[in-house]
């Protein structure tokens, strides 16, 4: 963390809205690349794996890794050494070049996403004016890498896993992107730094009914985007061995592993930055940011606070992701698609309209105050609740009407009049 603050102190004055390619910008980028992307982010990923093992162990009434170092803290390092020294196999029938390129594409996508996250004031690697679009575009590269990994392995499990992965990722990308539209509307910019600045003045975006719904949709869709349980069908061990990375070993498997955890970290950072007010500790107060003065020390102190709160929020989201994984069973594939297209997408579309109402009621009139916030909540809250109820009610009614056919995936013999859980209500 000290390195971050040193970087902030040294290069703060090089920050401006438009990117200028002078010496200090290049030096800042080099520092980000060497310290952040090659040092800190892989380290965070390694300890996320440790955290996941510890948390999952606690949920299952075990202890977890505790042999290597105190509390098993050196376990990730031992794992990394093990991965690097393992033999790197390429199957005989595999398409060599593509087999090599696929994990690189996936890990590149995961790293590129991190490049626009604003961790604190002046602590975004790059402040792109179209940052959010860039982020979505960078994350859309990973389905291609996953597909190529499955295709080039010449293994039916790999291929089935890749097909599942691509279908799932393409489906859940839609609600994920739609859920971020309210934020763009309210901030009037795609830049993640502008979105953070807006939340300093307006309070966290999650503190409004459409913002809350958008955050929930983004969270669910992001879990699906990073292939975590309960959406881990592409790598379902009980059915597909390991899915698209069945034929990968050694450090190339390690790259997929790294990419998966880095993506979890990245989507947690994204949700924190655009909905949870970045590093702001209190929803409606511009508390640490308004202490910023002219001196470099005020920047260091404020940024240390912002960064600490930011990391705590990210850790909380990561914990929820691990909690969900330890708690919920895997979804069935048809329900997975239904959930995206029949629940999340309609809700996200309605949410865009409600967000426009919130914009007109609360944000456009000017200065933000409690009265406007209450009025906006009173108007949009019932709409959001009604929309959620409506989507669920319509889907339940529709699902109950659908006739049961032999294509219906179910256990045991089914049919109209036979009985069992899958039988339509109309047939009874």
């Amino acid at each position: 963390m000290n390195v971050f603050e040193g970087a902030a102190c040294a290069f703060l004055w090089a920050q401006s809205q438009a990117v200028e390619l002078d010496f200090w910008t290049k030096a800042r980028w080099a520092l980000w690349l060497l310290v952040g992307f090659f040092g800190i982010f892989p380290g965070i990923v390694a300890y996320m794996v440790w955290l996941e093992r510890k948390v999952a162990a606690r949920f299952q009434d075990r202890i977890g890794p505790n042999r290597v170092g105190p509390f098993g803290l050196l376990q990730p390092i031992a794992d990394a050494i093990k991965l690097i020294t393992k033999e790197d196999l390429v199957p005989g029938g595999a398409d060599g070049a593509v087999h090599l390129a696929a994990p690189v594409l996936v890990i590149t996508s995961a790293f590129l996403v991190m490049a626009v996250i604003p961790f604190a004031v002046g602590l975004a690697p790059v402040n792109l004016p179209s940052g959010l679009v860039y982020l979505i575009a960078a994350s859309s590269l990973s389905p291609l890498g996953i597909f190529l990994a499955g295709w080039s392995s010449r293994n039916k499990y790999s291929l089935i896993g890749a097909m599942r992965a691509v279908a799932q990722l393409v489906s859940y990308e839609v609600p994920q992107v739609l859920a971020t539209i309210p934020v763009v509307l309210w901030a009037g910019s795609f830049s993640l730094v502008s979105i953070f600045d807006r939340q300093v003045n307006q309070g966290w975006f999650v503190a409004s009914p459409p913002g809350l719904l958008g955050f929930v949709i983004l969270f669910i869709a992001s879990i699906a985007e990073v292939n975590r349980a309960p959406f881990d069908l592409p790598e379902a061990e009980s059915e597909l061995i390991a899915g698209y990375h069945t034929e990968y070993s050694g450090m190339r498997f390690g790259l997929f592993f790294l990419a998966e955890y880095l993506s979890v970290f990245a989507v947690s950072c994204l949700a924190t930055a655009i909905f949870l007010g970045g590093g702001m500790p209190i929803p409606f107060l511009a508390f640490p940011v308004n202490l910023l003065g002219e001196s470099a020390w005020s920047y260091v102190i404020v940024d240390a606070m912002l960064l600490a709160v930011f990391l705590v929020k990210v850790l909380a989201i990561v914990f929820v992701v691990l909690w969900v994984r330890a708690t919920l069973p895997r979804m069935r594939v048809d329900r997975l698609m239904n959930f995206s297209w029949k629940y999340l997408v309609p809700l996200a579309l309605v949410n865009v309209l409600v967000a426009a109402v919130w914009y007109e009621l609360v944000i456009r009139p000017g200065a933000f105050d409690a009265g406007r916030w209450m009025m906006g909540t009173a108007v949009t809250g019932p709409i959001v609740a009604a929309a959620c109820w409506g989507v669920f009610a319509i889907n339940r009614a529709h699902g109950a009407r659908a006739p049961v056919s032999e294509q219906w995936p179910s256990v045991g013999r089914i049919g109209p009049g036979v009985g069992g859980r899958g039988v339509s209500r109309r047939g009874l």
Partner: protein, 208 residues
């Protein structure tokens, strides 16, 4: 520097395009196409259109190429190694079509006259430099660079609104048409018991 960068990127792009056409494995050809799309995105970045570059990556690499791969796998056998039809038979018509398209485009682009307030692209030797910083009076160019999404949205909703709406209508019609075509095929199969044995899903279900 910028010109050399442009030359390198466009050479790479042309090489990728050639490899797309000449590759015998369809999935590999699709991959080369992805590389070509990426080169186009790089050219957009050189033109200071980063929003367009991001959309190029999102739409063409993230969506179209995936659809392409799915299409290949669903129609050509899973590994995409089935040879394509004899390429030499279509060489002459392909060359003629490509040449005519190239001539048309180069004629149209070189004869571009520019809008009322702008100079023609064809006669502009060098682009004006990026206006740096946020100080000073705001100009449309600086606003567009600093908040490209907003500038694009305003333009799409005012000056180009008819084209925008027409494109939306066309896409919606295409979507509805695709669903209608796909749905009609399904309607021939009885959806309840006694599905024809030709349906693999029904077969596997009855076997189970």
């Amino acid at each position: 520097m910028l010109r050399n960068l442009f030359l390198v990127i466009s050479t790479l792009g042309l090489a990728c395009a050639l490899a797309t056409v000449l590759s015998r494995n369809l999935v590999r050809a699709g991959l080369w196409l992805v590389a070509f799309f990426f080169c186009v995105a790089c050219l957009f970045v050189l033109l200071e259109a980063e929003f367009l570059a991001a959309l190029q990556v999102l739409v063409y690499i993230g969506a179209v190429s995936i659809l392409l791969m799915f299409g290949i796998m669903l129609t050509r056998g899973v590994q995409g190694t089935d040879p394509t039809s004899n390429p030499s038979a279509r060489l002459a018509p392909g060359l003629v079509a490509g040449g005519v398209l190239f001539l048309l485009l180069s004629y149209g682009i070189s004869r571009e006259r520019g809008l009322r307030t702008q100079r023609s692209w064809a006669t502009t030797g060098e682009r004006p430099a990026i206006e740096p910083g946020t100080e000073g009076p705001s100009t449309p160019r600086r606003d567009a660079i600093n908040n490209m999404g907003k500038a694009l949205g305003v333009e799409l909703m005012s000056r180009y609104v008819i084209a925008f709406e027409l494109a939306g209508l066309l896409l919606t019609a295409a979507l509805v048409g695709a669903i209608a075509v796909a749905h009609r095929e399904e309607a021939f199969e009885p959806s309840s018991k006694g599905a024809p044995a030709s349906s693999p899903a029904a077969e596997s279900a009855s076997v189970a």
